[in-house]
Symmetry: C2
Subunit: 300 residues, 2 copies
Amino acid sequence: MKTDLDLEVYLEEKRLLVDRALEEALPPTEDLSRPVVEAMRYSLFTGGKRLRPVLCLAGAEAVGGSAEAALPAAVALEMIHTYSLIHDDLPAMDDDDFRRGRPTSHKVFGEALAILAGDGLLTLGLAQLPRAATTGRLDPLLAAAALEVIARAAGHQGMVAGQAVDIGSEGREVGEEVVDFIHSHKTGALITAAVTSGAIIGRASVDQLRRLEEYGRRLGLAFQIVDDILGVEGDAGTLGKPVGADQLRGKATYPRVAGLDRAKEKAKAMTVEARLALEGFGPAADPLRAIAEYVIVRKK
Amino acid sequence: MKTDLDLEVYLEEKRLLVDRALEEALPPTEDLSRPVVEAMRYSLFTGGKRLRPVLCLAGAEAVGGSAEAALPAAVALEMIHTYSLIHDDLPAMDDDDFRRGRPTSHKVFGEALAILAGDGLLTLGLAQLPRAATTGRLDPLLAAAALEVIARAAGHQGMVAGQAVDIGSEGREVGEEVVDFIHSHKTGALITAAVTSGAIIGRASVDQLRRLEEYGRRLGLAFQIVDDILGVEGDAGTLGKPVGADQLRGKATYPRVAGLDRAKEKAKAMTVEARLALEGFGPAADPLRAIAEYVIVRKK
């Protein structure tokens, strides 16, 4: 399945597009709200992988839509992802001091501003698609449909539920079905929504949407299992955070309930299935195929 | 300015409408996400005044629209208001143990679930209007315009900024302009958005919208000043929370920077101005007029 696509170039090109749009959506300010805006910007501009926004743009392109039209959804996804990292790192949650090689938000700005920076990013993220609709950049019904998918993935039926069960399972014996729930909700839901929200904006057919959802679910699971594996045997310097923290904390991870070998097999199987879900899509879906490959070999 | 309107009856009728819609939007669940959903419901169903949703429905009716059409915005506003109370009460913020006569969320569910319950309510709140659009209950462009107004009021240009400056001003000498910033952002913005989002859904004219915005700003300021005054000389039993906490904490309040007498005068003046902004509106705006009266005489 050779393609002419250079994933590095594709990712870089899309990242630039996303970073420019993020900068436009949240410029610095000089008024009294400057501290909270700085805290929001601190976490938003940290050289993240921008995986979710890129998946969103790639999802739009896979069904023949334009990346440009999907940009408000991409911005929304990265802001929502960033908010979730800030809140997850809080002392009351995972109590992490480092993220992407830098001190976490509450270490720099204190807990109150970190909570508010997360709240601000979540709110601003969910405001991107309505804004695109009222300024005539996006069909209002497509904007609503894409936003509904993203909000459901982010909320108590998605990411919020995953994090709640994750926290509630710490240090307890849990089975594979609980780990599956955590992974599919905490990480899988937003990754899936990234692909499908882009595809909705690209005017995907019902059948295309169903297959891209399948792709997203497999990819999300592979991504999180690899995350768990890197948490066990990754390189702290490359990751920008300590290794072994999940174990110390008694986190419900796939390697813990199924063993490292089975975890690696499962991650591999998921990327194969993710690619299989894309059968019938033409070369426009090559970026999605390449991302599935990348997820399994990534080191951070 | 006598009217036939019985505000008690009006408020009760609208509250019932809102409570039924809230219940539909967030039913109990039996799956693994039950704890976080219970935490969300605990704070959402506490016999709150439902001021913001009622203002939203009244805003729609004031311009000849239907309360029914504005209901998704009303639900959104109450969820967003509730999330802000949960996060404001957190130990890292105002560290309050009681709210509406009951233990605050983090006292009952712990800090992690309280943070997540707030996140979940904010997300679900912002998802209401897109959902109304995709299910054909609301014109998608009206939904987008109303949501944009609400999200701006809730985010870093509104409520989040107000709370950040509020926290940052604790125990410091601040002038009236800082108190104005806190009040207009922390409380005023969402109260104004309640009226205007309803009016947008009711297809208000530009001029009507401008005057309702004026009404909302005055009402919001009056409301917050009365809140400050009740925090000094209210009845703890009626309020459901301790009196004198603002002073102990060195909170930037209007009575503190201007004195109790001037605070009372200002609140009174604001309600008069709020009612003046409604000149030219017919009897359809009587509920808004009555609410302005109510805000100044309320005891909780």
